[in-house]
Assembly symmetry: C2
Amino acid sequence: MTNYLKYKSIMNKIADVQYSSAVLNWDQETYMPPKGAAFRAQQLATLAGIAHELSTTEELGHLLISLSQDNSLSEKEKRNIKESLKKYNDNKKYTTSFVEELSKSISEAFQAWQEAKKTSNFSLYAPYLEKLVKLKREECKLLGYVEHPYDAMLNQYEPDAKTADLEVLFADVRNQLVAFVKKIAAKPQNNDSFMYLHFDKDKQWEFGVGLLKQMGYDFEAGRQDISSHPFTTNFNSEDVRVTTRTNENNLNEMIWSCIHEGGHALYEQGLPVSEYGLPSGEYISLGIHESQSRLWENNVGRSLPYWNTNFSSLQKIFPENFKNVSTEDFYKAMNIVKPSLIRTSADELTYHFHILIRFEIEKALIQGSIEVKDLPDYWNEKYKEYLGVEVPNDAQGVLQDIHWSHGSFGYFPTYSLGSFYAAQFFAQALKEIPELESEIEKGNTKPLLDWLREKVHIHGKYYTAAELCLFITGEKLNFNYFMAYATKKYSRLYHL
Amino acid sequence: MTNYLKYKSIMNKIADVQYSSAVLNWDQETYMPPKGAAFRAQQLATLAGIAHELSTTEELGHLLISLSQDNSLSEKEKRNIKESLKKYNDNKKYTTSFVEELSKSISEAFQAWQEAKKTSNFSLYAPYLEKLVKLKREECKLLGYVEHPYDAMLNQYEPDAKTADLEVLFADVRNQLVAFVKKIAAKPQNNDSFMYLHFDKDKQWEFGVGLLKQMGYDFEAGRQDISSHPFTTNFNSEDVRVTTRTNENNLNEMIWSCIHEGGHALYEQGLPVSEYGLPSGEYISLGIHESQSRLWENNVGRSLPYWNTNFSSLQKIFPENFKNVSTEDFYKAMNIVKPSLIRTSADELTYHFHILIRFEIEKALIQGSIEVKDLPDYWNEKYKEYLGVEVPNDAQGVLQDIHWSHGSFGYFPTYSLGSFYAAQFFAQALKEIPELESEIEKGNTKPLLDWLREKVHIHGKYYTAAELCLFITGEKLNFNYFMAYATKKYSRLYHL
């Protein structure tokens, strides 16, 4: 066996263990009976430990170093080795005692967060979050960074991203988007009351499955189930599953989770199955992953052509609820802009203020310029400043999101990156496929999916996020595309 | 950490990996999309390999040997060590090359069997089965045996069972049961045509769930799903799942799979959760496992008291189908005895002729007194002799069961053992709980479940099957209990 095949076989074994964990996680969120939870946590911890052991063996290290000097490899193979070696070196930086302490602190913080959120009592959570932030600061040192300690956090989700670049990006959000949203707020609000009538669950489900099929989601290589928080997971690119939730008094939840998760799933279904377990078979970064979900959700799903083809089916399923609603009314209701407290239900513009606030807080926590105890006040001031809303309690404020209790610092910015990449990619798609919108208007999204397959999916992790953006659009990530998209769309919607 | 705690921790880790495999298998049989199959097989093979590695480390070997000489352990702990050491030594007997060759041959044989069954062409399968039988003969040598090579096969599923004892048992089946079934065959047959009317799937499901709840199956620590072949699986004793299937034109399938799998599941839910991963938290043998399913299925589920309480609910759900059917009619229909071709749909008496035939064939194959190529003729002769039926083709004959293609020789006899243990245990329960039948008649099966918990479930693998039988009934396995049960029940049903 050649060294490269040996490497491939080890990577396959690691992937097998990690995807087995993913099956256990999927089951936990969808079908596991309540009492199954205790041992499931232990089983997941064991699999994680085994995957870590397999990922840090001396054998793999030697193999990677030897392969990194092998000039007979193809360009793709070289990229795989480079990427795997980087990950190997990162994995080796963690000591067992650090991993155990972090894992224990996360369990404790997560428990405390659940209780604190339930009772809206930040002080229950604060000491655990403090401990976690301390460990995360240590982790930054351990992983190493060149410019800013927060870079080390960011790069776990968005390799090669820099805090300095994000500061520039979020300055644009602050300067341009805040002003734009103020202009919208000065206009009369559109009506979306018909979205909150009664919508039968099974009929919603049926409609959502139809949307997924229309997008090109392959139900032979995936399935949709119900979970309390919608997510996408995959066990290889031929078994990519989505979940959704239905709220009988709010049609938005099912529609946006189907399209959003569908976008994530199309990326995973499009990764080359022959590259299973290798970087060339994996997604690039969370930002690029999110670009795929946001492109379908916002640029396609919240567009007029999309509802020109789909609204009539929805009307057929819910004739009573939509009897006096036009496609244009529906399109307006899909695109209500209104500052609000909760990130996950925010519109596509004010959403970025939520991320901006978390970015500023995380950066400050990691560099030590703010203390955990001051978080609620800081949070509430920022919400007042950027969104103009009063935070009534911490449950709807600083305690709303799970991420920090999981030790996930550096994750939030990838949500905004996703939207901005999506806008830039979609602008390029419109240029390259002149018939794109008219085809969507006919219910044919295949030209778009083909384009995404060719431009994004089939490459796996061959490119970095920055390289991919350059490869697709000829320039680096540019906030102007998002701003142009927003300006055009919302100027029409709100008569600006 | 004491040595015993170290041992417990290793056993927990092995269990975590094995139960993770069980989750992947459950998913494969219930929800996995079709294209997910290829990598699922690889993921399962990887987990099996890891579990085997963990089960055969030098560290575990040294620990077990040291603990086996530790007199400070409790009786239960000593039993655990003895059992684990035995299993460790068995695991160590397998060379990697043998395991790989066996695994490859099983894959090939399974593929060939599927095709052969589909086309009813035994010759497609024969060469692969021959290869497998050859390997199984090698495995007997490798595992070692004292009296008969087939003992080594049997003991994988039924530890300590002996071919010689089974020969005595099956001689009773041949002598007593064949004659008894002939007497039944001479009588007019009872009517069960109403079992094959149309039964709505959802209503069947609802009724089946009701039966499981009545038995005491804990839906907080388990769930029921649909699969093409009903089974029970568990990931710890607080996550024990059953599956069923519904046939809209045959009510039997759902009812018997619910009660049968429910019996298996009650055993698993009753194993002590604190003994997770240890022999003291595991079932004794497949025969004892089957005794739990058969006791509920046959001794309870096919009894008149059981339907005296449950038939009226069934009538309420399907009023049209049962409007002219009495409880007695229904009870008779549940207990039609009629020789037939297919094991899985056989009645509780002629069922054992199916097992007898497989036992005779397996023994002969393993000791080399019959050749694979002669199997179809041999099979057909035996079916004529014991069941009096003509086998029209190999698909309904020698190719009907999956077991041999999976390399499972020695498995079939545990099905009969289960029924015989069940009859003996149930006779004892009737003695010890005078109100047992009258309570069942009121829909209260709790006294029975409590008794099984105390007599069987909580002990895990503390006893061997033979010891358990002695512990519960004061004597060793005795076919007379089954024969007495059958004689009393069917003499009344068929006016013998």
